[in-house]
Symmetry: D2
Subunit: 372 residues, 4 copies
């Protein structure tokens, strides 16, 4: 059987289209590495039946594999145990062990963690890279944090803006947090939890040099809470020296992260700028025949749509100065350079990325013109 050549053209275009949209339809989260670092996709705040979640730890592993994550942590509340009657485990490490076992044939890092749970102003905090969760179960929160520190844990403050603990949604550091920071017992802060981004938490992170975190805090199913609604779960991208638990830990203590929820990206300029730069590759740059209009094909290798605004001294021939490069797809822009150039600096503002509560990063890509 032979197919008409036209068929292959059609097929090819369809396959390309699928590729362009593949990330979203599968839910797989994809981000490129940046110079010097491997980009680890992590969700370090999750629950199972071993605290107030509703699934067995195996489901969390399967969800993470479906989402193409590199790292997860099951951070059961130490103190809040609504299923205790049915799961009367004396060992708070059990959820971690079950996830570890499920993940052993997969390329997924399971980090040992727990949630230290108090009412305001102490609130909730996750301690990860712990060695024994049981030891953290103390009467006084101060003792829990001290023990976590002894175990070498990285600790971050969860959802500081959460309105059940904070009726105006506007977080401030209490003396408790100030002391923990001073003692080297609190290292990070969630700026995105569930779908909620708090600009004030971001400001606190920058002022206090806390590591910027984004997490799903999932209790039911990732599909029901995120995918089905057209969302990707919130994650923390961690820029590690290699793909290992040790490198992840080093990077978190060093504060090399970007928090991501759908197209919203929040991080320090030194991390967000190289990330966005790596997300876009320049596929082709040629002048339209007999013109000084440079046609440039941009490819977005990440799984999130990226929205930009032109910041060059030149205008575009066709598209709007504000444009999206779709997740996994391409966008052609045509730049009126007024004369034919050999090279040019593409300069765009990333409109859904923040390097400070009201500041977008400006990204630059060198473009070498293809001359035949």
């Amino acid at each position: 059987m032979k197919f008409h050549p036209f068929f292959f053209t059609l097929l090819f275009s369809v396959v390309l289209t699928a590729q362009e949209h593949s990330h979203k339809s599968t839910g797989a989260i994809i981000f490129p590495d940046i110079p010097g670092y491997t980009t680890l996709k992590t969700d370090l705040h999750q629950h199972t039946v071993f605290s107030d979640g509703n699934v067995w730890p195996t489901i969390r592993v399967m969800e993470a594999l479906r989402d193409n994550l590199d790292v997860i942590s099951l951070t059961e509340h130490l103190e809040y145990q609504p299923h205790l009657k049915d799961i009367p485990h004396p060992d708070r490490n059990r959820s971690f062990e079950l996830a570890l076992q499920e993940a052993k044939n997969h390329d997924l890092i399971i980090v040992h963690g727990s949630e230290i749970t108090r009412s305001a102003p102490i609130g909730h905090s996750n301690a990860i890279f712990i060695s024994d969760a049981n030891e953290l179960l103390e009467e006084d929160a101060e003792d829990s944090f001290a023990t976590a520190k002894k175990q070498g844990a990285f600790v971050f403050w969860n959802h500081p803006a959460w309105y059940p603990q904070n009726p105006n949604g506007n977080p401030n550091l209490s003396n408790f947090q100030k002391d923990r920071i001073k003692n080297g017992e609190l290292h990070g802060i969630e700026v995105i939890n569930t779908g909620d981004y708090a600009a004030e938490s971001f400001a606190l992170a920058l002022e206090n040099n806390l590591t910027i975190m984004g997490t799903s805090d999932v209790h039911d199913l990732i599909d029901w809470d995120y995918t089905e609604k057209g969302h990707s779960r919130p994650i923390t991208l961690v820029f590690a020296k290699e793909r290992s638990e040790a490198a992840l830990k080093e990077a978190l203590f060093a504060g090399r992260t970007v928090a991501v929820f759908n197209s919203l990206m929040v991080g320090k300029e030194e991390h967000l700028t190289p990330l966005l730069k790596a997300c876009i590759t320049v596929e082709e740059a040629t002048y339209i025949d007999n013109t000084s209009i440079l046609k440039v094909t941009l490819k977005n290798v990440s799984s999130t749509d990226l929205l930009f605004e032109n910041q060059m001294p030149y205008t575009f021939y066709s598209s709007s100065p504000v444009f999206t490069v779709p997740a996994g797809g391409t966008k052609i822009i045509q730049i009126k350079t007024l004369e034919k150039l050999d090279a040019i600096e593409l300069k765009l503002k990333a409109l859904e990325a923040y390097v400070a509560p009201k500041k977008h990063p400006i990204i630059q890509w060198p473009i070498i013109v293809d001359n035949d």
Copy 2:
């Protein structure tokens, strides 16, 4: 930049999915060749502004290329010319010439045709492979048919069941058609026109050995009349000795056709059976470990869904005895052969295909079991 291996698995599955659905989403019509013949996808009844259609002939060429057709004919009404005031062409061959010119850089055969248009009982008929349409414009329909014969035309009766000419929708041969058949001036009959299939027209074709035809009879746009509604335009598959106009003509006179509209396929058993057999390939056939259950993967290489019912002496382990192999996709069936066999004859009834007004073909495929 490196991607996690899991990404490729995901991507691959998405690309495969796209491939499975590609035919439909693009509108490309695909059917395999059958032993001894090339399968030509034809739409031999269409109109443009040169009779009562609303597009220039170039649009018909572009539509055919989008639909992956091999052959079209623009069969303008010789006698019904509502745009004559604006297009006062003295030459009835003009539509053909314009299509020919547009198609010259594409792999599409344009057949020269015209529609001889009368009221009932003569009705409408298409003469194709004509040399000069002007000569067919005669007062008496008999003269038009005689001239068509002189030019070597293949002539078919259009929409015999069309209710504006036939209020009960039940066609019969009038003396006019009987005489034309006797004189060798009428060779085919539409059993599908627009979306309308007439079982009685099919019966007439079989009784009078007329070539079975299916056509779109499009006047506006293929997109608006078919694609947008989820349909593929009606076509005639012609089984020709090679891909050429001469071979097409020989095959039409020899009656080697199947009319197709979406999943409905109508033809003589000798053509429909090999066509359906070629549409399905057996991709894999292995016994499930330690069982006598044979797992068989069927692939549908055509662009239409195919509906089958099991006719074997064995039952299936999982799927219903009635099942669809999706266009361009695969379906796994599990056959309980009761003991392990080396070979087996797959035997299925094609529920949306007709070899007579109430008779479905039964198709057989030899399956050799893969033994490791």
Copy 3:
């Protein structure tokens, strides 16, 4: 602000389209009542963390509500308890209690059940409407069945064709089952389990007057195992005198069921025929102007596509004799009645329904022609 009237036409058509496809996209399963009975949609074979499933019972309740079910049963294996180390419950009723509590504010019936689990030839069986699961946990399967009977349970044989227990996939009643039937301790049989339909199990049901069952046997998530693949979970439709647990039990003992998986429907003729008849309503029946062609609009009020073949003495004007009425949608057929009639009997064979392993039901609907 005013909208152009055309907008409303467009909007209306879109809303209608959504309605036509709504069932599938939401996963809601919908079937009409039949004369004399309420149709209950049930899934009576499911697992949670309390045996070898991976979710808390609350998730099963939420899944059932999403799927629009009326009844579920969480039938934990009494004997197979892989999570026993973590959930060392002495009480085998716990899963039921938790589901009951979650469902209390919803219109969902939770039936108390357990799975009695043995190797072949005894195999697996579900006992539902039990009063205390703990009492069923006996060394000898005979004792478990006897206790179930004492508790008034309805008991059905699970997946008799399951190849891990039956390498040729071809079930037969062992002496164990024969004795249980004789003793009034076995009342039903799964003909569909997971996606697997066994024609032989259906034959056994008919020969031994066992109630015909279809179940999901879900262990992970309904979304992952069914919805995501384009499937609806297998269910048993039960025709009960009212919507209550007592009426459900009476109906199951009386054998008034149809097993459904996607479009496959399996049941006795006396239940399947009225069900299919109720699934299709005739919306409109008028003659096309000046013709004897009767245009009939059929509406499918169920959530499954229904495939029919014409069995009338009349042919259709347009569509194929084989056609689908889409789930929640409509299909127009045009019947050539040859003369204008006041009433007509529509007669269709249901090609994906079985009233015996190789027998499709033929359904009749009286049509009164709308005369202006």
Copy 4:
């Protein structure tokens, strides 16, 4: 037959979803009126077989109705007539007449227009509201413009940045255009033609007080050139005192327009600001229980997605400061007002709208808090 109440909930949510997406899927273009004016959706630059287009004028009327337009003009090239051999019409008004006839039973205004076609620097210009196209067919372009003025025409310069006439894509007024403006013979300028937006053309419009235009300039099919690619055709929104040809003409001469292509909106601040304000309605505004977080539901009544950035002194609780209100859909934002207020001014920057080449409008909506 009765449906479970849950079914209606599901159905309702699906219908709402359909409504949210209805505009795009149908292609219907929808924009609200603004205070004092009716918003007319117009495409005043199109071609048919009567110049270098490929469809009969009737198709353009049908396309406009599908797109929900209020006004079209078929602006055939007076001088470029590639189909002249086949359509040797002596009357350049013919295309208009045929469209008028087709539109007579529909609520669509057909404006009589023609394209005056010269090489650079004169270029192409459309004259609309003419009385006789034949009179405009003059040797000297100056004479064509003078005649157009005599007929009372509104004239606009087409695609000034078009690179075949302007190799650096950077338009400037030539003496020809300067003279025409001085003489009151040139009144508008396309800032968007096909998919091409030229910031420089927009600057020229503002500097010279020319009416801002956007047009499709379609030659083949709107479906192929726009809809199929996920685009809406470029249009000019005209703010007229009523829905009539006379009011349209008055508004065009008065310069009350906004050019739109997909989500890009270009116009003077005095028109764009009320348009965007009318596109968003505030559906609900209530404080979340026991908090000072105000939950506001925004509804986008237009057929284009609208992208905004927060400009208030308050931050959001959940969503990103940059967010989209989808076409025909809603978006909930949660504003941290720090104390409970009775009213608040919502203040957003419209990121895909331009009131000058680099300036986005800031829109304000008064919000009255719903107090129970």
